[in-house]
Every structure is written in C-alpha cells, then in structure tokens.
C-alpha cells in the first residue's frame, strides 16, 4: 500500500503522513502541486489524500490529471471549503470522496478505507467488510474465504449493499438493483429476501451485519 499526502500545512502534512502510515502503511508527503506531479511520475500510488488549496494553485486540475493514470489512485480530498458547489466541483473532477476540515482521525481512516475499497472494487471487482468478501466479477460472496451459495435475488441485494458498504443504501435503489424493468415489484418482498439473506450470513459465521433503517434504507456495517 502506497499513500501520497499533498498538504502544504507544516503541522497537518507530517501528521497526515504519520497517521495514515500507522493505519494503512507506506506514506509520502509533498507540499505543492508541482512536487505532487513529480511524485506521481516517479511511482504509482494506491491512495492520494490531498488539500484543495495549495500554494501553487487549486488542486482540481491535478485531480483531473490523476484520473488518467493507470492504475488510478483513490482520491480523498480534504477541504476547508464547505461550499456545496465547491465540493461538487471536486467530485465532478474525479475525486472519490471529500472530508471537511477539521476532522477526527478515526473518520479520516474510515474514509480512506472506504475509497480504497471502492477503488479496489472498480479495478479488481472485489470488496470486503469484516470477514465477508464479494467478488463482483465472479458474482460470488465469501465468508472467511469460503464461497457462499445464494439465490439470484439475494445475491443482487448483497451486491448492492456491498458496493456501498458503510453507507445507507436507499430503499428504492435496492428495488432497482433486485428487480428488472419487467419484474413486478411486490411490496415487502425485499424485506423477505433480506431476512433470508441475514439468516444465511449469520449461519455462515459472517461478522458483517445488515442494518435496517425503517423508511430510509439498509446499511452494511462491520
């Protein structure tokens, strides 16, 4: 795991590097856009944690450039600008997520893990929560590396939840994931599928848990 921290602040920069290195391993820190471009040319990075405002400019242009790299690093933007339009600009340019300053160290690590997980999902088709792993290419779920045999609709449900693990998946997007255009959606059918899926996961010894939030949606939690 290789992490690049782009942060000009003399306190925050080294702290970010040390904190991320302790939690995820191998981090470098640069302070300007220029240095960042050089670093990115020298070696590939799995994760880039970056500030928006740098001494030599707005980092949005760099985000767009990094999207072209192969393998593409996961990008987590740290921003002191909480204007929703500014956040949207960073995400549109290709950032995977943003974190508003100031933040708690645990939140930083959790977000970093989440973007890495999503990037891994994009590139390798694999995502995991606790001892549950889902391979989207093979469309197979594993608990402790043991494949889990699931009916079609339960598999689709699990995939939708795993793709957005740690976040709330709204009820209607689950409906869309499980049922096709022509399928007639039965109310409560999702709940029935979910309760069977929960039981199967529990029996297989899965430590990840599907939390139901009435009226809102579902969430795959550790």
């Amino acid at each position: 795991m290789r992490i690049l921290v782009i942060e000009d602040d003399a306190d925050l920069g080294p702290w970010l590097r040390d904190t991320l290195e302790a939690a995820l391993g191998g981090a470098d820190r640069v302070a300007t856009l220029d240095e960042a471009e050089t670093a990115l040319k020298v070696r590939p990075f799995d994760l880039v944690v970056m500030d928006r405002r740098l001494p030599d400019g707005d980092a949005v242009t760099l985000i767009a450039k990094m999207r072209m790299l192969s393998p593409r690093p996961s990008i987590l933007v740290l921003t002191a600008l909480d204007d929703p339009n500014e956040i949207a600009r960073a995400l549109d340019a290709g950032a995977d997520d943003y974190l508003a300053k100031p933040f708690e160290p645990v939140e930083l690590i959790a977000r970093a893990r989440a973007v890495l997980r999503r990037n891994q999902l994009d590139q390798k088709g694999v995502t995991s929560v606790s001892n549950l792993r889902f391979d989207t290419f093979a469309r197979t779920a594993y608990v402790d590396d043991q494949p889990l045999i699931l009916p079609r609709r339960e598999l689709a449900l699990l995939e939708a939840l795993m793709r957005r693990a740690g976040q709330v998946v709204l009820r209607e997007s689950l409906d869309n994931a499980v049922y096709g255009f022509d399928d007639e959606i039965q109310s409560n059918a999702i709940d029935a599928h979910l309760s069977r899926l929960r039981k199967r996961l529990r029996e297989a010894g899965c430590r990840a848990e599907i939390k139901a939030l009435r009226g809102i949606g579902y969430l795959m939690a550790e």
């Binding site: 929703p84 300053k101 939390k211 009435r214 969430l219």
Partner: protein, 442 residues
C-alpha cells in the same frame, strides 16, 4: 396629482385625458351659446312647425286653429309673436300682425319658404318668414319670435335629428377610446420592463434589456442594471469572504486537532477534543447560516420525502454511533417548491439536534405528512418550558446551558423555513421529548 400618480400611471393618464376633454367640450358649449345667436329663424321655424300641427281645415277649406300645448307655451314665451295662416279659402291670424303683412306680402304667390328682414336700422331684423308647408295651398307667415342662445341649444336637444345623433355617437366613441387606449399605450413599456425585472428574480448575472426600452425608461433600466451589478458583486465578494473565512477558520482548527493527538493525558485529551469538536461544529453552522442568509436560493419543485430521506440517510452513521434508532415515516411524493440543498441542510441540523439532545430516548422519528409537514420527533428529556417559544430558534440560544451543541442548529432551520415561507414550531412529544415541525405552504 402626485397621489394619483402613486396609484397608477394609467388611471391618472385616463383621468387627466377625461378632464381635458370635458374642459374642451365645456368651452365649445359655452362658446356656442355665447356666439351663436338666433336672429329668429330657428325660433320661428319651431313655431311654424307647431302652428302647422295646430291647424286643420274645415269643410269649406278654411283654416281652423286648435293650439297644441307647445304652441300655447310659445305664445306665452314670445309676447311679440304674431302669425297668419292663409289658404285660398280664408285665413286666421294671431298677435299684432304688422300692417305690411296684413296688406299683403305677396303671400298667395309664395311657393317656397322665405324670410323678410327690416333693413332700415343699423342691425338687420327678421321681420317675419313665410313658409310653404307640404300643403302648398296653405301658407304660414309669422314673426316676433327670437330664441336666446340657451333656448337654441335646448331646442336642438329637444328634437335631435339623425346627423347630429350620429355625430354625437362618433364623438363619444372617439373620446372613450382615447381615454381607454392612450393610457394603456403609455404604460405598456413600463409594464413590459416590470415583467422583465420580475423574471430576473434571484438569477445571478441576468439584466434588463436596455435597447428595447423607450428613451424615458432607459435611465431607469440602466440604473436598475447598475444596482444588480452592485448586488452581484457584493454576492460574489460575500462568497469569496465566506470561503476565505472557512479556510482561515478550519485550517487552524485542523492543525490544533492534530496537535491534540500529542497530548499524553487521556482525560485532558478527551476534554480538549470535545471542546474543539463543538468549536468546529459552531464554525460549520455559522458558515452554513451565513451562506443561507447571504445567497439567493433557487426554488424548484421537489419531492419532500426524497429530500428528507437523503438528509436523514446522511445522519445515519451519527445515529448508529450514538446508539440511536432512526426511522422515516411518509409516502412520497409530497411536492413543494423549494431548494433541496437548503432543506437538506435544515433537516440534517434537526436530525443531528434530535440525536444529540433527545438521543437518550434511543429513537428518533422523522415524519413527512401529505399536508407538507416535516416533523423530527425525539423521545428525550424535552427542551423544558423555560425555553419554549421562539428564543431557541435565535442564534446562540440553547435549551440548557450545560448541554452540548452550539445553539445555531435551530437558527439555521429557522432561516431555511423563512426562505420557504414555511412555519416552524416546537412542541412537547406526547410522553416526553421534543417535536420540531416545518410546515411548508400549500
């Protein structure tokens, strides 16, 4: 006049035109009365008509007079009036018939109407007129009747003929059209400019078209556009200020947070981190409040249920971390006109407040009713009676002094409500706790 203009340019223009036309008509009327005198022919023509109505012939062909009411009135009105009605078989007369007429004015020969004037004096005076009525066998000679100016007008009004009625009707139509159409034409560009200004609304960068304005309105449009320039510049400046302020406040807070990691004493560290977190929350909410109050909000039709669901979903991790169950009730769509972003910010603050202050109840319910009401219900200790009412909705007011939170959350919600013309109320949840309700207008 000034008061009239304040009411409406069109109605004052109409009243002004109406007044001017009336004055003009009055002048014409007075002039007509003053200068149009009657030298006798108008009055005598009227009297002759009346005489004709009063006369019939007996079996022998002699004229017989049965005066009509009007003829009697004429006789009373004109003391000098005389007349002679003659037919080949006989004649009758009234009043002091001048000797010359009596002596024969060549009456029997007269076959058409004519007048006789006395030209001996300095002013010509109608001596009498001879009128051949439809019956050429009957001649009427008369004199001594002269209308005053007023009587001429009254006589015209009394027996309107077709040409004068038509003329009056055409005049009335022209006057009415002038009064109705001219003010509307004058006001049209003003109305068009007002509609264009209305359309600009809260859109940034939009301006009134100046080229198409009439020259009188051009300075107004230019001044209006200059004012918009200033507002846009101020908004941009405000935005720049806010993002600079955000940067300048958050960067040191972040730096401070990283330094706190080096504090060895766990108890002191936890306390300092808590203080820093509440300071950070204050900064975040102040910036949100500033953004909501300073920037124009674009209103669109939105589904309250889905906006509220997304906002609630964002707060789920906080709820789970605090061990609070969160639930959304309500079937969509419930359409309102509003800003999804602003409502989302308001809802996030309400839900966070409920988790923070009412989380001890273990449950927070968000409810969207078809009547466009959104309620956030907690089952905690409640806000207490001392702080009921509006005060908690003002910036920096808190339910309890020792409680966490900045007291800005509800001020933000109140601002969001004000932006949407929505009602905001706070009441005790039955069985304990607080219910905050946003009621959007119908």
């Amino acid at each position: 006049m000034r008061m009239l203009l304040k009411r409406s340019i069109a109605s004052s223009a109409a009243m002004l035109l109406g007044g001017l036309i009336s004055a003009l008509l009055c002048c014409l009327f007075v002039g007509f009365i003053a200068f149009y005198g009657d030298d006798g022919d108008v009055a005598q023509s009227d009297v002759a008509t009346e005489i004709k109505r009063s006369v019939r012939l007996d079996e022998a062909g002699r004229p017989l007079l049965t005066p009509t009411g009007r003829l009697i009135a004429f006789q009373r009105q004109f003391p000098q009036l005389w007349y002679v009605v003659s037919t080949p078989r006989g004649s009758l007369s009234y009043g002091a018939v001048p000797p010359r007429v009596r002596g024969g004015l060549g009456l029997p020969d007269a076959s058409e109407a004519r007048s006789a004037y006395d030209a001996s004096g300095p002013e010509m005076q109608l001596l009498g007129s001879t009128r051949a009525e439809d019956d050429p066998a009957m001649l009427i000679a008369l004199g001594g009747a002269v209308y005053t100016s007023t009587e001429v007008v009254l006589s015209l009004l009394r027996e309107p003929d077709i040409p004068s009625t038509l003329l009056a009707a055409v005049m009335a139509i022209i006057i009415l059209t002038t009064i109705l159409v001219v003010p509307a034409l004058i006001v049209r560009p003003v109305r068009r400019a007002a509609a264009a200004a209305e359309e600009i609304g809260a859109r940034e960068g939009a301006r009134l078209p100046v080229d198409r304005q009439p020259s009188e309105l051009k300075p107004l449009a230019l001044a209006f556009n200059r004012a918009l320039d200033r507002i846009d510049a101020a908004t941009a400046e405000q935005r720049r200020f806010l993002s600079n302020a955000a940067h300048e406040l958050r960067t040191p807070l972040t730096r401070l947070r990283t330094r706190l990691e080096r504090v060895e004493d766990r108890e002191i560290k936890a306390e300092l981190v808590g203080e820093l977190q509440s300071l950070s929350a204050t900064v975040t909410m102040l910036l949100q409040l500033a953004r909501l109050t300073s920037q124009p909000t674009e209103m669109q039709p939105i589904d309250l249920v889905s906006v509220v669901r997304e906002a609630t979903a964002r707060e789920v991790p906080t709820a789970l971390a605090s061990g609070v169950d969160i639930e959304l009730r309500g079937e969509g769509p419930v359409m309102v006109s509003g800003s999804a972003q602003a409502i989302g910010i308001g809802l996030s603050n309400l839900v966070r407040n409920a988790i923070q202050h009412g989380g001890s109840g273990g449950r927070v319910v968000v409810e969207v009713a078809a009547s466009r009401r959104v309620s956030v219900i907690d089952f905690g200790p409640g806000i207490g009676t001392a702080y009921g009412g509006r005060t908690v909705m003002e910036p920096f007011a808190r339910g309890k002094q020792d409680s966490a939170g900045t007291g800005l959350g509800l001020a933000i919600v109140a601002q969001v409500a004000a932006l949407h013309g929505a009602g905001l109320s706070m009441e005790e949840t039955p069985g304990g706790g607080t219910t905050v309700t946003l009621s959007f207008p119908q």
